[in-house]
């Protein structure tokens, strides 16, 4: 953008200017969320950028309003990404939002008293639609860019006495739009393909197969969601990527609505993603665009529809506005490309030797480790947290404590309040194929959830086990629902259950890379023993945790703690409060053995202690 020309006559009306061009001196005012200086401005990077602004001039009357002006250009990738969303908060007061489709000057009124003479102010700029151009095939830039800022100025607002300086030709003049709170609304589930209502209107780039699965069938697939009758704050999308082990282990997916990028995901398994909708998107229906750069070109194969490029099966889309307590958590962009700093981080006890850990926790927190662990309830996806509780001396009742709950299965169960756990006809008892003696297992096919009974074949008759377990499951379900309504626990979510896959044909030179069809190993007894390998699942993403969090909060103010692998700046045991109600824990390993004591067992306790600390401090407001 060229320099903004400010006529000499108008300078008298200007409180101050910060020039972001190379010739200016903006570095002193820039906080987090900015890229390096470039000739004609500075790019914001990630979802949030912060400026420390000069105070009002000393001669500024206390009762005089002001106008803040931003000269900026959005990062766009037409024809897909044609706008950026920007919202401003000054000294903790939300000023408003605007949609920016090109070079623009954004103006907003600053009420008297919001800024003070001689005191700096903090301006937070949210721009969740940042774009990784390289992932859209729109260049090589790998920075998550949103806005290039040229100038920020404060103008004395003296009515008509000082005319507004025009932005340069071709640059729009935009006033910030005040926020209107979005009212909570029940979810609306859009049908894709088949019958039912409301239905998503599939535009170009789709294929509905003979099984009724709805595929993205081009690099760009568009659909329209009819108006939901309210202004939705989030979309939750259930989808399954088309993958081939080794050759295509993940598919990228960009989701665009109203010309704004909602997320750029890398999807490695069937899942559900939560994408926040900026204000102004979705009030009258939503045009949703799925961009799938890794879609498989079917012309490479002998295939009936060679013109197609298949990427994802889209199973469902839900539009909703969660309760206000969740707005901050639900508005985070969860694709993992760039994140705003956590609200709070707790790393107590991460360096405490395991032999001293329990005693130190009790001494410093006044709570026994076992009691700490009782304050959590596992949502899965396996028994790891339940075992960690047991090892810490906490035996608690939990519906999903010893269950295998893939993410989509968990959402199905939460979505209908696990009613199937009360219906004997929906509960199936079977024997686990491995183990000697074999364990009785429970399954609810409607959800795709399996439970350990911890009862083995020689110890009881199947009919008796089934009778007892059905009663137990119903009881646990009732306790689970009471817990959700009570909102006293922190719910934990891990994804670590490995997928066990048989080897098709053992080979010599290549690593084991193939999965097996059912029964293959039995056909080839010469492979003694039948060989299997385990595929470690991808760690949970923020977008997936958000999808669960929203569902979890229908009945009460429930905090979710999800687990990810540790990183150099997040050693095992670290817990971050990402937003009220949403925490993230770091673990070195998710493996926990049923017997013996291992160093890794104690990381679960460290996590519990740090989550407990955050919950009674920074997260306390969420529970009120």
């Amino acid at each position: 953008m060229a320099d903004t020309y400010v006529p000499e006559a108008l300078l008298a009306g200007i409180g101050w200017e910060v020039d972001f061009r190379a010739s200016g001196g903006s570095a002193a005012w820039r906080g987090a969320g900015w890229s390096a200086q470039e000739a004609d401005g500075v790019w914001s990077v990630g979802p949030r950028s912060v400026l420390t602004l000069p105070g009002l001039p000393k001669d500024w009357p206390d009762d005089e309003a002001a106008t803040l002006e931003f000269d900026l250009s959005p990062c766009l990738a037409p024809p897909l990404v044609t706008a950026q969303y920007v919202s401003l908060t000054l000294n903790g007061v939300a000023l408003g939002w605007q949609r920016v489709e090109g070079p623009a000057r954004i103006r907003c009124a600053v009420a008297p008293g919001l800024m003070r003479a001689g005191e700096t102010s903090v301006l937070t700029c949210e721009h969740p639609g940042f774009v990784r151009l390289d992932r859209l095939g729109a260049g090589a830039d790998d920075r998550p860019l949103a806005l290039r800022v040229t100038e920020v100025r404060l103008r004395r607002d003296t009515g008509n006495a000082v005319p507004v300086a025009p932005p340069r030709p071709g640059s729009a003049l935009l006033e910030l739009i005040p926020f209107v709170p979005r009212l909570p609304a029940d979810p609306v589930t859009y049908r894709l393909g088949g019958s039912g209502s409301p239905a998503a209107e599939l535009r170009d780039g789709w294929h509905v197969d003979d099984d009724g699965l709805v595929w993205t069938a081009a690099r760009v697939s568009r659909l329209v969601l009819p108006a939901a009758g309210f202004s939705p704050a989030v979309l939750r999308i259930g989808l399954t990527p088309l993958l081939t082990k080794d050759l295509l282990p993940a598919q990228r997916l960009a989701v665009v609505a109203g010309g704004m990028l909602l997320g750029q995901f890398s999807v490695r398994a069937e899942t559900a993603l939560c994408v926040p909708l900026p204000a102004g998107v979705g009030d009258g229906g939503i045009e949703l665009i799925f961009v799938t750069p890794d879609a498989v070109p079917m012309r490479s194969f002998a295939y009936d529809r060679p013109e197609q490029s298949l990427g994802f099966v889209i199973d469902w889309i839900v539009a909703e506005t969660p309760p206000p307590r969740l707005h901050a958590a639900a508005s985070l962009r969860g694709d993992g490309l760039a994140e705003a700093p956590a609200l709070a981080v707790s790393q107590r006890f991460v360096d405490v030797p395991t032999a001293e850990l329990h005693a130190r926790i009790e001494a410093e927190l006044g709570v026994k480790a076992a009691d700490l662990m009782r304050g959590f309830e596992s949502l899965g996806d396996n028994c790891a947290f339940g075992l960690a509780q047991r090892k810490a001396g906490a035996e608690v009742l939990g519906l999903l404590r010893f269950a295998n709950t893939p993410l989509r299965a968990l959402l199905r169960g939460l979505g209908d309040s696990f009613k199937a756990a009360l219906a004997k006809a929906d509960i199936e008892l079977y024997l686990h194929p491995d183990g000697n003696p074999r364990e009785y297992m429970l399954k609810i096919a409607r959800y795709g959830i399996r439970w350990h009974t911890l009862v083995h074949e020689p110890d009881a008759e199947a009919a008796a086990v089934e009778r007892d377990q059905v009663i137990k499951l119903g009881f646990l379900r009732r306790k689970f629902e009471e817990g959700l309504r009570g909102g006293r626990k922190i719910y934990t979510l891990v994804r670590s259950e490995p997928q066990k896959i048989g080897v098709v044909m053992p080979g010599f030179a290549a690593p084991d890379t193939a999965s097996a069809s059912r029964g293959v190993t039995q056909l080839m007894p010469a492979w003694d023993p039948p060989r299997r390998y385990e595929v470690v699942p991808p760690p949970l993403t923020l977008a997936e945790a958000q999808a669960v969090l929203v569902e979890l909060n229908r009945r009460g103010a429930n905090t979710l703690l999800y687990f990810v692998p540790a990183a150099p700046d997040r050693p095992a045991g670290t817990v971050e409060l990402l937003a009220p109600g949403l925490m993230r824990a770091s673990m070195a390993s998710f493996v926990i053995l049923t017997t013996g004591e291992h160093a890794n067992d104690f990381d679960w306790v460290r996590v519990a202690a740090n989550a407990w600390l955050l919950n009674k401090d920074a997260n306390a407001v969420f529970r009120q």
Partner: protein
């Protein structure tokens, strides 16, 4: 020790039959298993480690940094499927495998949730198998010396070469394309029933067992390089 080995036809056939979904021989195979089948058939292909690393510098750097243990592993895991060559194209003493793009173009697939599935007649899959087998480095002299009847047929002009016979018939007849040396101690330790047979004198050695029965039973002659 790198040992060349071809997955035996009975193993291949048992797997294909397990994928059969109709009496007419129609197969329904997860695409990634089909890829695994191709990998198994490519295992005996010689990969020129030096040439490969030089011809594909990015891979060469990956090998140097330890990302890939060898050019052979890269070729089997990725290179072949990226249409890379295993050795210099001007070489005439070895035959490059059928390009993957050609196989893919003949591979009839359907899209299922989360995966592609190969839906083809067993005969069509075996046709692709045979064409891949043309890249197996058959030891012409050993093959002719070992299978005298085949040598006679080649001499009569029934087959162009040992490779040709092996790809057309030899593989399904469970013939060996080259001598496979058995690691005696490993074999006897891995297969206790063979150890008993050798101890009782029913077979003379692990090598003899592998020749007479072990190969077609799907046993390995030596430690798998990845075991």
């Amino acid at each position: 020790m790198m040992i060349r080995y071809v997955v035996p036809f009975p193993v291949m056939n048992a797997w294909l039959e397990s994928c059969q979904v109709a009496d007419d021989g129609m197969l329904d195979i997860p695409y990634q298993d089909y890829i695994a089948m191709i990998r198994r058939l490519l295992e005996p292909v010689e990969v020129d480690e030096g040439w490969y690393a030089a011809a594909y510098p990015g891979v060469g750097q990956g090998i140097a940094r330890g990302v890939f243990p060898s050019a052979t592993v890269h070729y089997l895991a990725h290179g072949y499927f990226e249409n890379r060559l295993p050795f210099a194209p001007e070489r005439t003493d070895v035959r490059a495998p059928l390009p993957f793009r050609d196989i893919r173009a003949e591979t009839r697939v359907r899209a299922a949730r989360g995966e592609l599935r190969v839906v083809m007649q067993k005969a069509a899959v075996l046709g692709i198998v045979r064409r891949l087998l043309l890249a197996v480095p058959v030891d012409e002299a050993w093959y002719r010396a070992t299978y005298k009847g085949v040598a006679a047929a080649i001499d009569r002009g029934g087959f162009a070469s040992a490779v040709s016979h092996y790809a057309q018939y030899g593989y399904t007849e469970c013939r060996w394309p080259f001598a496979m040396r058995v690691e005696e101690d490993w074999y006897l330790g891995r297969y206790p029933d063979v150890r008993e047979s050798v101890a009782s004198g029913a077979v003379a050695s692990a090598q003899e067992h592998f020749w007479r029965a072990g190969y077609r039973e799907g046993r390995f002659p030596a430690r798998n390089s990845h075991q």
